[in-house]
């Protein structure tokens, strides 16, 4: 028998396993809640304030990042819409984003550590983190060493996270577990705990990079929220959470917020403790807010959507 199952079993006997059927039944209920009128408005505005407005593409340019920053600062010119929490860009784009959002409530998040695979020497990954922080990143989104986790080298994985924490300095850290590559809920719970034990209060655990086939789901979000709750009850340390990838509609965002409210409570319903990593979610949130404001369903091309004549 290889080391991986043994190490995992030891860890799970300590932290408890996940009841997969129970989780899925529970999250299915979240989608049946009726959120209307005032609570819907509250939820939509809250979701806007939690968005990490993201562009992570090979074709990103300083110009594209500039328009992303403008959008982050003023999501919509009608109504009373809050700014988003942060813009999330590649390290090379941090200095371009800094020109627009430094000194504003919008923070700069940067993915680092050889995102999305993490397959680079540790030295390189740490240097990338330091460079992003030096350029002005307020938050660093790192990926864990999934290879180390899956082969049972938990202390290697934790050591690497700890070194990134150190490299971050004052910057907030978000640890991406890449749930789709961890495969089971038990693995997600185990990786959550391993990460939470080495990061600081107020740092995040994050579901995914958005670069693989499956991203944030209500299920893996719930497993991680449960882990955060159990860790908080055990140690008193509050860890924040960021689902990322695949959350495109306002309705989905409300479902995720219901999960937060019903699992962790109001303490986590703010952008210090919960974020959405998304690029197209913001436009749908604005669209629904504008629908609530005017009473009329809105066309997507009013919200800086790349739209054709339709």
């Amino acid at each position: 028998m290889s080391a991986a199952p043994q190490a995992l079993r030891r860890l799970l006997s300590e932290i408890g396993t996940v009841d997969q059927v129970g989780i899925e039944e529970r999250v299915a209920k979240y989608t049946t809640r009726s959120i209307k009128k005032k609570s819907k408005l509250f939820g939509l505005n809250l979701a806007v304030s939690m968005v990490d407005l993201t562009t992570l593409e090979g074709k990103d340019t300083p110009g594209k990042v500039a328009s992303l920053c403008q959008k982050a600062l003023l999501p919509h010119d009608q109504g009373d819409v809050p700014t988003v929490a942060a813009v999330c860009v590649y390290p090379a784009m941090v200095k371009h984003a800094a020109k627009y959002v430094k000194g504003t409530p919008v923070r700069i998040a940067s993915v680092a550590t050889a995102f999305p695979s993490g397959q680079a020497p540790l030295k390189t990954r740490l240097a990338e983190v330091r460079a992003a922080v030096a350029d002005g990143a307020d938050e660093i989104d790192m990926v864990i060493n999934r290879g180390a986790f899956l082969s049972g080298q938990f202390s290697l994985m934790q050591d690497e996270i700890a070194q990134v924490v150190e490299a971050c300095g004052n910057a907030t850290l978000k640890v991406i577990l890449e749930t789709s590559e961890l495969e089971t809920y038990d693995n997600i719970r185990a990786a959550s705990f391993l990460a939470m034990r080495v990061i600081r209060p107020g740092d995040f655990i994050k579901t995914s990079t958005g670069k693989t086939s499956s991203n944030a789901t209500l299920g893996n979000n719930q497993v991680m929220l449960d882990a955060i709750r159990d860790f908080f009850l055990e140690t008193g340390t509050a860890i924040a959470m960021k689902p990322a990838g695949g959350i495109r509609t306002a309705k989905q965002a409300l479902h995720f917020l219901i999960a937060v409210k019903e699992t962790l409570g109001d303490e986590w319903l703010n952008n210090q403790r919960y974020r959405f990593g998304a690029s197209s979610l913001l436009n749908d949130l604005l669209r629904q807010l504008e629908k609530e404001r005017t009473g009329a369903y809105q066309a997507p091309y009013y919200f800086s959507e790349a739209a054709e004549a339709y």
Partner: protein
């Protein structure tokens, strides 16, 4: 031994799929003699919103089809209706039409589609232009589809009026959300089944059934609908014009209180297409 009857659940054709209303509501439909016929979905403003999303998705692809291909597809729809004309005629008779009238309505509807199938690759030549200008430029006017068109059908002529209003819109690359006759919705349900087998991409034509009073305000105010065409009474026309002004929507409505001669050839042709396109004029320098 008698066989248990297998009755059909009528469903609306939206986004290429057959849907029930998201509300789950239905209303009983009775035939002209008062006997129960079927339960018809009562679509809501959310069904309309979903239909608009489906139409928006299908729109760019449909507009990019070659004019010739759009003509082929309209012709194919006419073929499907011809093959199932008896079923369409029966659907119309539920509303009380005589067999002869119903057959005539089906035949007129099919011919109307054939008429527009011919127009797909011809209207551009007639409506587009090379304009004379006093500088070394080419100046072209070309047509573009408007986008998503809301269609409000009248109570009478449940198939022919529907086809008369839908066909010119899709001929020139628009997509359509049509609200079927409230009192005679069944022909639209049957037409949906033919649209599904006609090579027309899903989402290009979306057919809703339900109460006008519930749906007209959303048709009028939804900013993604670029035009409203069809038939409306005085109160509806006022409501539609007011909300359409907010969303800068083109309104082209016949008066419900004036009788319309639906089989008349005057209701088909280039002018109906022209109501549903935008003109774009471009300047291009001549020579090097």
């Amino acid at each position: 031994m008698s066989r248990l009857p297998i009755t059909k659940t009528p469903k609306c054709y939206v986004g290429g799929a057959f849907i029930r209303s998201e509300s789950g509501r239905v209303a009983p439909l009775h035939d002209a003699r008062g006997a129960f016929f079927a339960n018809i979905p009562q679509c809501t403003r959310k069904d309309l919103r979903n239909a608009v999303e489906a139409a928006a998705k299908a729109g760019p692809g449909w507009a990019k089809r070659s004019a010739y291909n759009r003509g082929q597809i309209l012709y194919r729809l006419a073929e499907m209706m011809e093959a199932r004309s008896a079923e369409l005629a029966e659907a119309i008779q539920i509303g009380g039409s005589t067999k002869a009238d119903a057959n005539h309505e089906v035949a007129s509807s099919i011919e109307r589609l054939i008429h527009y199938a011919g127009w797909t690759d011809k209207y551009e030549q007639l409506l587009g232009n090379v304009n004379p200008v006093a500088s070394p430029h080419f100046n072209f006017t070309v047509t573009e589809p408007m986008g998503i068109i809301g269609v409000l059908t009248p109570e009478e002529a449940p198939l022919l009026a529907l086809i008369t209003l839908i066909a010119p819109a899709i001929t020139c690359g628009n997509t359509v959300i049509a609200l079927a006759s409230e009192s005679q919705p069944y022909p639209a349900i049957v037409l949906g089944e033919m649209l599904a087998t006609s090579d027309l991409p899903g989402g290009v034509v979306n057919l809703l059934t339900g109460q006008r009073s519930e749906l007209v305000p959303t048709f009028a105010s939804h900013t993604h609908l670029r035009a409203i065409s069809g038939v409306a009474n005085a109160d509806e026309r006022k409501e539609i014009r007011l909300a359409a002004a907010d969303s800068v929507k083109r309104v082209n409505l016949r008066k419900a209180e004036d009788p319309t001669d639906w089989p008349s050839p005057k209701l088909q042709g280039l002018s109906a297409i022209r109501e549903l396109i935008e003109f774009k004029t471009t300047w291009h320098p001549i020579g090097a």
